[in-house]
Structures are given as C-alpha cells and as structure tokens.
C-alpha cells in the first residue's frame, strides 16, 4: 500500500495513467487474494476512501492542462468503478463460501426419525359413516338421529312388522320389556320422522346413521352391536330408478368410481319391491376372487320402494306419495373396504388396530 500512496506531485498525464493502472493492478491482486470478509471491507475503505490512493493520485492533476484533467478524472473514475466492482464481487464470493461452510457444518442425518406428531384419528366406522353423510348432505338429505332404545311400535309395527309376523325371526331382538327394546335397525328414526314431516314444505330426504343391536352371539362375522345407515326419500314422484341411481352413487363413493351395482329381489317387510344390492368386486373388478367368492359381486345393502302400509301407518297418503328406502352396514362396508376379517376388532379398540388406517377416506 505504501508505494501506491507515495506523493505524486508534478506528474504528466501518461505518468498519472500509468500510476493509476499500476494502482489498479496491485489493488486487484490484493482484492483477489483476500480471504476474509472483514479484510475486504478494510480494503474498500483504504482504496476507495477519501484519503485513499486514487484521491492522492488525482492530486497530481494540478500540473495538467485543463483538457487533460477531465481525461484523467474519467480514467480515475473507471479505475474506482473497477475496484468497487472487484471488491463487491470478492465480497459476494466470500459470502457464498462462508455460507457454504456454515451449511456444511450444519449437516444432519436426515434419515434419523422425525418427531412423532401426537394426533389421534377417527374410528374407521366413523370414517365410513362420515363419507356417506357427506355424500347425502351434498344431495340435500338431512341427517336424523333417534333413540337407540325404542318402542316395539316404532322399531317393528310401524315398519309393517306386526307382532307374530314370521319376518320378525330375521332380527333377533334384545327386549327390555314387552314394549321396549334395543333398536334392531335405524328405521324407527324414519318412522318417527315420517310422522312429523310437513310435506307442504317439500320432500322428505333423510339418512339415519347410528348404533343398532341384535341378539346375536359375537363371533368373527356377528356382533350384538353394529351400525346402520338407513336412507329414506318420500315425495310425489320417486322411482325405483332413482333408488338405483342413488345407490350407485353410494357404491362409487365408498368403493371407488369404477364400481357398478346390481339389484336382486329380496324381502323386507317395510319395502316392496325389495332388493338386495351387490357391488362389483373392488378386489378383482368383477372377474371373481376370494373376496367375492368367485361371483364378481359382493352383497352390500338392502333397499326397496317404501311399502304402502308403512306410509299409511305414518299418516301419509300412499296414493299421492311414494318413495324409496335403503339400509347399509358401515361395519360391513369397513370390513370389505379394509379387509378386516373379524367384526369384533371394531369394538375392542386395540390401539394398533385403530391407528393403522389412513384418513384419506
């Protein structure tokens, strides 16, 4: 630095330029060699500051002619700009190196386990019910809850199942006394809703999800407690084709877009015609496999057109109104969908069982 800062009095234009060039060359070399950000900063102050060598050199301009002065002035500015830029570049480079070194030091083993996020999850039966609820809310249905401990009247008689009807054998019942029982289906909710519904305010479209109870011995495929979602639409012009379309939407929502359904005749006292509904097997796509017992179809729910007796008992004019009803078992849906082979798993609540399912729906 000392050579550069020598006094430069009485210099010619050429001399001055040479000195400036010389200064620039040496300064650039020095900048490039600097490995320290702080030193780069010091250099900037020294080289470009008010008391720096360029200013010093320019003082030698006094011997120059007025034509030459601007020339050397502009040359000096170029040198100053070059040095400024060189310093900036050097600083930037050193910053990059510094950051890189820092990051290098901060390196971690990304394969170490992440922190366990503490979050619980819904039961898979809840998930199935929730998907069904959302589907039907979207189609303008209301969701109606009702008592789990019911009157025989609503559970059976209003469903066209008088006492001593042979079809009562289809549902073994936990009675509390002669008149009171654990509901065997969620259809009593429909009976109660039908009784109350004001048809001048529009059609009745409802689903009733909930727990039901049957007098069954628990084993892999039977549970004395399980769930049902029953649906009901009553309006002036509701057709069995509407039922088919609605159930198709259910099958696609739960089991996948490419599923098809088929209806088979069946019997429920509260509907006529009554049908069992099969969905094309989601495991084999209908080709036949163990899940569908080689048939390509899996029985998933029961449905039908509401029996006129059921309408009449609820005080609805069966000549004007009609509708469809269906009932499905979220337990069975969940068993099929997830391949659960023992229904008791749903009610024993092993943490390892409950937490193994995704929540993507």
């Amino acid at each position: 630095m000392s050579q550069i800062c020598e006094k430069v009095k009485g210099m010619s234009l050429v001399d001055l330029k040479e000195r400036l060039n010389d200064l620039k060359k040496k300064a650039l070399a020095e900048i490039t060699e600097t490995e320290d950000l702080k030193k780069v900063n010091d250099l900037r102050v020294k080289l470009l500051g008010k008391k720096g060598p360029i200013t010093e050199i320019l003082r030698g301009m006094r011997d120059l002619s007025s034509e030459q002065r601007p020339q050397i002035g502009s040359f000096a500015n170029t040198v100053r700009d070059d040095l400024t830029q060189a310093i900036a570049q050097r600083r930037e480079k050193l910053e990059i190196i510094k950051t890189a070194k820092k990051l290098e030091k901060e390196k971690i083993d990304v394969t170490l386990p992440g922190a366990a996020v503490k979050a619980g999850q819904p039961h898979i039966i809840e998930q199935v019910i929730s998907q069904i609820e959302k589907l039907f809310l979207g189609m303008g249905y209301q969701i109606v809850d009702g008592p789990e401990i019911e009157e025989d009247h609503y559970n059976f008689e209003m469903m066209n199942l008088p006492k001593d009807h042979p079809a009562r054998d289809m549902q073994d019942t936990f009675y509390i006394n002669d008149q009171i029982l654990m509901r065997t289906q969620t259809s009593p909710v429909q009976a109660r809703t039908m009784e109350k519904h004001d048809f001048s305010k529009g059609p009745l479209k409802m689903i009733s999800p909930g727990k039901v109870y049957r007098r069954d011995t628990d084993d892999a495929t039977h549970s004395h407690q399980f769930h049902q979602v029953e649906g009901l639409v009553i309006d002036k012009h509701v057709t069995m084709a509407d039922l088919k379309g609605t159930l198709q939407a259910v099958a696609k929502t739960i089991f996948g877009e490419s599923r098809e359904i088929r209806l088979r005749p069946s019997y429920f006292p509260f509907t006529e015609p009554s049908v069992e509904v099969d969905v094309s097997c989601f495991k084999c796509d209908g080709k036949g496999c163990a899940v569908c017992k080689q048939s390509g179809w899996i029985e998933v729910l029961g449905a039908g057109m509401v029996h006129p007796n059921v309408l009449k008992m609820a005080g609805i004019d069966a000549d004007v109104y009609g509708g469809f009803a269906f009932g499905l078992g979220p337990d069975r849906f969940a068993m099929l969908k997830y391949g659960v082979d023992d229904i008791r798993e749903f009610y024993l609540n092993d943490m390892r069982f409950l937490t193994q399912f995704s929540q993507k729906g």
Partner: protein
Amino acid sequence: MKISTKWLSDYVKLDIPANELAEKIERTAVEVDDVSCLASGLKKIVVGYTQHVSAHPQSDHLHICKVDVGEDKPLQIICGAPNIAADKKVIVALPNSRIADNVKIKRGKLRGELSEGMICSLQEIGFSENVVPKEFADGIYFLPDDAVVGKPVFDYLGMNENIIDLDVTPNRADMLSMRGTAYELAAIYDKKLTLKHPKVVEEGDTVGHYVIPSADSKLASTYLMRVITGLKVKPSPMWLQKRLWNAGIRPTNNLVDVTNYILLDYGQPLHSFDYDKISGKNVEVRLAQSQEKIKTLDEKERVLRPTDIVIADEKGPIALAGTMGGLRTAVTDSTTTVVLESAVFNPSLVRKTARYHNLHSEASMRFERGINHATVEEALDAAAQLIAKLGDGKVAEGIAAATKEEVHSVSVSIGSKKINDVLGTKISAAEIKNIFERLDFKVDMNSADKFTVEIPPHRWDISIPADLIEEVARIYGYDNLPATLPKGELTPGLYTYKQKVIRATKRLLEETGLTQAISYGLTTHEKAGQFMMEPSAATELAFPMSSDRTTIRMNLISGLLDDVAYNTARKVKNVALYEQGRVFYREEENERPREVEHVAAALTGLYAAGSWQYPKQPVDFFLVKGIVQHLLDSLGVKHIQFKAATGHEEMHPGRTADIYAGDTFLGFLGEVHPNICKEYSIDRTYVFELDLQKVIDLPKEQEVYVSVSKYPEITRDVALAVSKEIENSAIVDFINENGGKHLVNIELFDVYEGEHIAHNKKSLAYKMTYQDQSRTLSDEEVTEEFERVMKKIETKFDAVIR
C-alpha cells in the same frame, strides 16, 4: 329348500345348466345358498358284491372280503364296518379312486393283508350325517339287489342330481315346495308347466267308521282326514329315498317318508296318527287347557298354554297342531292303520307354539308363512294314495272334514302408468300383461292400460298393487331399470347445530392426540353404574345372552377402561382413547331411558413416547386437564372452572376435578381410583367425561372481534409464598378481580415446594401482563396497579412476596 333339478324336470322342462339356473333364480326370485352335486369330484366308486367275508386273522373287528366289482377277479378288501356281510351289494371305492373330502383310496396292506380299495358308508362318499338312514348310520350301506356290479354307484344313489339350495325369504313361502318352485321357474323362463294330480282308489269302510274330527275354523280353517288300512311298514323304494335325502331329509319308512315327500312336493305339512292308539272316534282340534300336558314325539313332556292348538282324543292331546305329534299315537313299525291329517292351522298361533316350545320344524315354518290353501285336499289324496301303494294298504272311502274353507283367487287392479311411475320405466301394457300371464295370473284389460289381475291361490303372498309392481319389476329384470337421481323440489342438506358440535368435538379431540374408540353399549350391571354423573335407574335386558352384557351403560368411562384393559393385556402400554356416544339415564317411573350424548377419554402410559431427541411425556392430570380445556375453549365454552371433587367413588379423591361452565356442571376429570384400576387390571389411568348435551345447551354467544392492541405490553413477575392448602384458582380469580383495569393476562409459570421454603408452604410464580387498547402505559401506573393488588393478596392469603 333344496331343489333337485331332476325332480323339477318332472314339472317343467328347462335343460339349463344348474349354475345358470341358480343365477337366474337369484336374480329373479330368491337367494341361492349353494349349488351342489354329491358326485362331483368323486371317481371310481362302483357297485360291488360281497362274495365271501371272513374274519381278519390279526384283528378282532376287521374282515377280509372278496368283492366282485365286475372285473375278471374279485378284489380283496379289508373292511372294518360292523355290519359287513356276505351276499350284499355294497359301495366300493376302487384303488386310485377319490371319495369325499378329496380323499384318495390306494391299494395297501391292513395288518398284513392286502386291501384293494374300500367298502364305503354313505358318509364316506359325501352324504350328510343327517340324511343317512338310521340302519346304516354306523356302518356301510347296502345297495338294492338290482344294482349292477361294476357300475358307478352315483345313479343308484341319486348322486348325479344337481341340487340348488334356495334361501327362501319369508314372503316367498310359495317356493317352499317343488310345485311352487316349478310355477316360479315356468314363469321366469316362460315355459309350460305339467303338474300331475293324484287319483285315489278307495276301498272298504267309509272314513267315518274310523274317525270323526271336529274343529273351530278360527284354529283350523281347513281340517281334513283320511284313513289308510292294512299297511305294512317297511323301507321306502329307492326313488323316494333319493328324493328325500337329496332334499336333506333322512328316509325312515314308507309312512313317514310319504308325508315328508308330500311336504316337499306340495309344501303341505301332514301328520299321521296310528289309528289303533287313538281313543275313541272323536278327534277335536281345540286350544289346550291351561296346564294340560302332552308327551311329544321327541319324548319330552310339555306343559301347554291356552294359546297352543292341540288335536285331542277322548284321553287328551295327541298332537301339537302344526308343530309336533304326540308320542302316544305315533306310528311305529307295527302300525297297520293310519289316520292322515291335512289342514290349515292359524299361522300366528302355530308361531307362538313353535317359539314357546322351541319346536321350529319344516311343518311349523310353512304354517307360519302360509301354505297353498287350494291343495290341502289334493296333498292329502296324493299322500293317502302313495301310502296305500307303498304299504300295500287300502284307502278308506271318503274324506272326513271338520272344516273346509272355500278357496278363491284374489283380484287386484293396477294400471301400467302406476307401474311405470313407481319403477321409473316405460314398459308397455302388452309386456306387463305378458309378465302377469307367465306368472299364471289371469288378466282382464279394462282399458288400454288398466288391468284386473286374478291371483291364483298358489301365490297367496300377492294381494295389493305393490305386490304386482314387484312381480313386474323382477320378471322384467332389475338390470333393465335406468339409474337416475330423485328430481323433485330441492332441499338443503345441513347438519343440525347439535350434530355439528358432536362432530367438532370428535375432530378436536383427535387433534389433541386421542384416537376414537367405539365400545360396547351393553355391559355388566356393575360397570354400567360406575362413574355416573347423575343418579339413574339401570335399564336392563329382559333376556340377556351373557352376564357380560346385561345392562345399558350410564357412563362412557367404564367402556373405555375395558378398552384400556384389552390393550394392557396385549402389552400396549400407551393408550389415548376417546369415545363419543350416548349414556342412558332412566327415571325410576319411566320405561325408556333418556339418551344423553356424552364424550369421555381414558389415557394411560406415555402421552408422548419420546425419541432419540425428544423427552418422554407421561400422562398426568394436567395433560388431561389441558385437553379438556382445549376442547371446551375451542367449542366456545366460557367461564370454565375446575373444582376439586371428592364425591366420585371410582376416582382418586385427591386428583379429581369437577368441570363447570359458570354454574353448569359439565363433567369431571382426574385419576381413576387405584382400586378400580386393580379391578380392571390396568395401570394408572386418567379420564374425563363430559355431558356433551349440556355443552350444546349452553347459551350461544355471538362471537365479536376484539381488536388487537397496537400498544406494548408491560409484564410483572411475582412469586408468592402461601399455605399449601390455598388453590391456585383462588389466587388467580382474586388477582383477576382486583388486578386493575389494565391487567390483561395472568399466567402461572412456576410452582415450588421444597427445602427453600417452609414445609407447609408453597411458592406460586405468576407473570402478569398489562396493556391498554389506546395508549402506551407508563411504568409507574403499572407498578401502582401491581403493588395495589399485591398488598391485597398479602392480607387475603397471608402470602409473602418472595
């Protein structure tokens, strides 16, 4: 109902493979349980003739048999059956044959003697235990003498027949007979039906000479009897035995077999009495007297009720109508004269009797669901005729009728518009008419699309237009229905407020790390009444299945503790479960309980399991309290208070708090009493239970935005030494009340008990935050407010500022 396609072909010619037929039945009529053929998978099983049988020298029960199987030389077969005998036609599984259950038979040695195959029992070639005639139940089967040696046995035994097992729904009892099924298939395939009708040859005395029945038509709308005399009881011919066992019924003798055969053919249950054992001529169909007794065929003495219909002679009941005959008048091997009954009994009374006496049978099931009233007499004739033929007897002249109802067809009117409106189809009137006619219904077309349809008695399930719509739908084919969505007026699909709160509760608890459990609602009497939040009578099942499930729950925690126990027993130590569901409170005077939505949780072990980097976090009271606080805050519950509670029998007396919103009791939380943990075999467990309905019922406050102050907060920290007995909440409440208008928050940040403080004291450290909405507070005014409340605290709580 097991349908043999061979038998079916007597009535309707189909020539359709059994599997295809089954599929069609399933898609059009009733469910099919199974399609089977006994012979399938079996091979090289032939008729053999036992030329010579001698004892095996090395065995006390084996025999060496020389069996002619139609080859050059007889085979030597070792046989262990107790009934093995010479000069019999037997079932022989040849070397390299395959018998039931895919078992292969090979040539081999048995105790040193060569055995070239196996002489088989019916069970060994696939017959069910239930259908094997009793005399062959424990041994090999003897084929009829005309069986040709060396020929496969399958045809002789009816094993080549395809059997379609129908799962007949209660409404289609018409298909509980061969003839009913034939009607159905003729309709499905649009084929002609050829039913044979019996002609009875009558000889000898009139029936009135033997029996004079009487009946109340309310009990038996038709009650008919015939008498067959001069009978010999013996095994039925093969054709009949085959039909029975292929239908799943065990052949017994010619008398019993014929009644079973007619039951299958017509669906008409019959009963035969041994004439010689009936006292007197008069037989009455009546209701039982209270405490009257009968010993039924199963040799059980039954005490009857006045709802049981009985057939009685002079001495008392001789049969329980429609369910089971009496032992006293049962036919035996020595019976020579039979009184045969064919009737229609009151379905609901038969059902009651069958249920009460647990006597569900093929007969009772048919009476309950209905039978064809038009063929009661024809079935009687067919049975009488066949019994006489197979037993070398004679049918007495005439039918003794106690009651006999007139049977008419039923008319139902319907229009094709109605049918199409319900189905969403465009089926033409002509096509509908054709469907009805295929079903053997007579159709009168009143106008272009109005029909009067006459339903024959064999379809007694049809009586209203909806029944006809179903017939059209299924024959037309459900596959042909379009798939649409209901059109009608639009309705909003919305959750109710209650449903929203319940669903939000579940999601909020899941966020806090709790997983949803669904436990059993029915539990023991004891567990149902634990952890209760209000007094309630128990609601119990009248006839529980097991002592574990007798009572409906009045709390959720006990179910969750069962879940914790289940996990603990399976070495899952860390459990964090919640359950949302109903508890059932009942006032003594009510039959039905109130159903109240609750939510509860149970946690044990570690909340955070810890890892290489993060510490373990065991479950404790304050974690659970934090979860409850989070839940209630998020549900917008205001004025939440936790108060020390000692009144919960099943809870730790020093670690339980009642939860309030203002004055409303919402529930409780805390540690389960160690004695209860012991009963459940679980480790230290923390729980809470809330009455969610009360949360839902809290007044809904409109939430209003509060602007966030732009001015800085000033804080003051203070540690107070107070008596251990003083509760944090008392201090916090007091400071909140007296802290001055700028105090916006008070937060406990440390609790200390130990050597640096007197043993009966504790130190509580609080951070108090001051702020104003409209200006920056000065240090002085904060200090003034702070010191004012500290002075009050010192006197109020005898606190020392540390």
